[in-house]
């Protein structure tokens, strides 16, 4: 695999990130999370899936299927939306901040 993918793998791993959304003051209600692509590291610009924002839409999910809806501005979501992005460093850099595991996923013995 590495022979075929070599530099594509490096590019993919450099571009990958994880995005999580939660409500301010209610971290237990989430986070909703998904994957994303880093478009720019500095300034930081990321493209991710929109599904995690549905619970935060002021006008409800129906706004996504409204005729002619191609884009919605950032203030379409409620003020209590809190977003975080996590990515791997481009080179050896300062670490930290990894989340601890949580119940729900386990590794059953096969």
């Amino acid at each position: 695999m590495r022979r075929q993918w070599g530099s594509a793998m490096r590019a993919a791993e450099q571009a990958g990130c994880m995005v999580s959304a939660s409500r301010a003051g209610q971290p237990e209600a989430g986070p909703w999370s998904c994957s994303g692509v880093i478009l720019s590291r500095s300034p930081g610009l990321v493209l991710c899936h929109g599904g995690i924002f549905v619970p935060f839409l002021r006008a409800g999910s129906e706004v996504l299927t409204a005729a002619g809806a191609v884009f919605l501005p950032g203030d379409s979501c409620r003020d209590d939306l809190r977003l975080h992005v996590q990515w791997a460093p481009t080179a050896a850099g300062p670490g930290g901040g990894a989340e601890r595991g949580r119940p729900g996923l386990c590794t059953p013995q096969c």
Binding site: A8, G36, H49, I52, S61, V70, F71, R102
Partner: protein, 456 residues
């Protein structure tokens, strides 16, 4: 879930960056994606198709599922607030985007996502999966790369040019009529970035400058060709319609198509053969031969009234190598709604009787409608066999698309060549006289033990 910063933990040996706060700049969708989505998955999406990451038995309310469906083709552009350390960090390589239509069907793709999202990023961040571009309908792309819940939004990259972003994951899993279909649904990146640029210029706040940060499409600066015609065999499958039944087929001569008996069961039956690439044509033909119901080889041969111009005629393989990379081309799942799908895997088994291959098995995803389609060697491009079935467990009702069976082309080739040259069906009729051990194999029975001999 613990959202508090924990102790530093390595990410598969590498330190993870701290979680950075971000803000939503805009939500955007690709209108053309929705048009093709509606065409492919139909109005009865809620009935037949599901794109939920939740398992069938999980409790997902109808409202939640409706929300997921509405958000399917929506993406979000985020601004990340950086600390001083991140600002000083190396910027990383520039990204380029593959133009829409530049990647051919059958081309290898690499998906990079974080399965289960925020769960355990030190283990799952940037997990890779590879497959091929299976099908294309405008900006709606399908890959057979296996993806998991949480990889929504993950990037999909090409091998050539190396690391060009071709798409983002829309839905890692899709289900039809309760069965898992081994495709991941993607949205092409190029039209998404065009929509993002347009939106950034139209927003009231001063976000227009951000448009300059969006990656450019692969072009002259990369010095690489924009379009690759892809493997010839990706265009080799034809759609075969016989009354209300349809399936796939492959042209073995300009006027001769091989398909399955269960697609075209009656000799002399009229059959419509459609080819979609390089151009869309429909040609009538008639079934000149179909094996008997009792024959283990599920084969029919169709003679066409006109030549199938421009459809590549594959070279039949003479040998099979277990473990070699292979591809299946067929009209499974979507039928006439779009061109044939390509799925990739390996030749997982070559079953032989008396040293002669009589059955091939692959790990490619094979769906209903792929029967009669061709199986190709990726290395040589040669035709290895004709797909006849995938697998169903009659006890549980579960279907296994990744365990499937093909008739080796070496079984058919002498008879097809004879018919093609002399119109003599004698060789094909011989298929009906397949030996009992071959029948045993195709009934998925164990070989009969040799009868104990009398010592008297």
């Amino acid at each position: 879930a613990s959202l508090e910063p924990g102790p530093p933990a390595p990410s598969r040996g590498r330190p993870l960056q701290p979680r950075l706060p971000a803000e939503l700049l805009l939500l955007l969708s690709c209108p053309a994606f929705w048009a093709h989505f509606a065409r492919l998955f139909g109005d009865e999406a809620a009935e037949q198709w599901r794109f939920s990451s939740a398992a069938r038995d999980d409790e997902v309310s109808e409202d939640e599922e409706a929300d997921q469906l509405r958000a399917l083709g929506w993406f979000a552009l985020l601004g990340v607030r950086l600390g001083q350390e991140e600002v000083e960090e190396e910027r990383g390589p520039a990204m380029a985007v593959s133009p829409l239509g530049a990647v051919p069907k059958g081309a290898p793709l690499l998906v990079c996502g974080s399965p289960f999202g925020a769960f355990c990023p030190d283990i799952f961040l940037n997990t890779l999966s590879c497959g091929v571009l299976s099908n294309v309908a405008g900006p709606l792309l399908l890959t057979d790369a296996r993806c998991l819940p949480g990889t929504e939004g993950g990037g999909v990259f090409t091998a050539r040019p190396a690391g060009a972003l071709v798409a983002l994951v829309v839905a890692p899993l899709c289900w039809k009529a309760g069965e898992w279909v081994g495709f991941t649904l993607l949205c092409a990146a190029a039209p998404l970035f065009r929509a993002a640029r347009d939106a950034l210029h139209r927003l009231p706040h001063s976000t227009a400058a951000l448009a300059a940060l969006l990656p450019p499409e692969v072009g002259v600066p990369w010095g690489l060709p924009l379009r690759d015609s892809g493997p010839l065999w990706a265009a080799a499958a034809v759609l075969v319609e016989c009354g209300t039944v349809w399936g796939s087929g492959v042209a073995v001569a300009p006027r001769l198509v091989v398909t399955c008996r269960h697609v075209s069961p009656r000799e002399a039956a009229r059959v419509l053969v459609r080819s979609t690439t390089p151009k869309s044509v429909a040609i009538w033909g008639r079934v000149v031969f179909a094996t008997q119901e009792t024959c283990p080889y599920d084969i029919a041969v169709v003679s066409l009234e006109e030549d199938l111009d421009d459809v590549p005629i594959p070279v039949p393989a003479e040998h099979f190598h277990e473990g070699e990379a292979v591809s299946v081309v067929g009209f499974g799942v979507f039928g006439q709604s779009c061109g044939p799908s390509v799925t990739s895997g390996i030749l997982s088994a070559v079953v032989q009787v008396n040293g002669t291959p009589v059955m091939l098995q692959t790990t490619c995803a094979v769906h209903s409608g792929s029967s009669g389609g061709p199986l190709f060697s990726n290395h040589s491009g040669n035709l290895l066999g004709i797909i006849t079935s995938n697998t169903r467990d009659n006890n549980t009702g579960a279907t296994y698309p990744h365990l499937n069976f093909s008739i080796p082309i070496t079984v058919l080739q002498p008879a097809l060549q004879q018919y093609s040259q002399t119109q003599d069906l004698g060789g094909l009729r011989e298929l009906d006289r397949a030996a009992e051990p071959v029948r045993v194999v195709w009934r998925l029975q164990r070989p009969l033990a040799e009868a104990p001999r009398s010592k008297l």
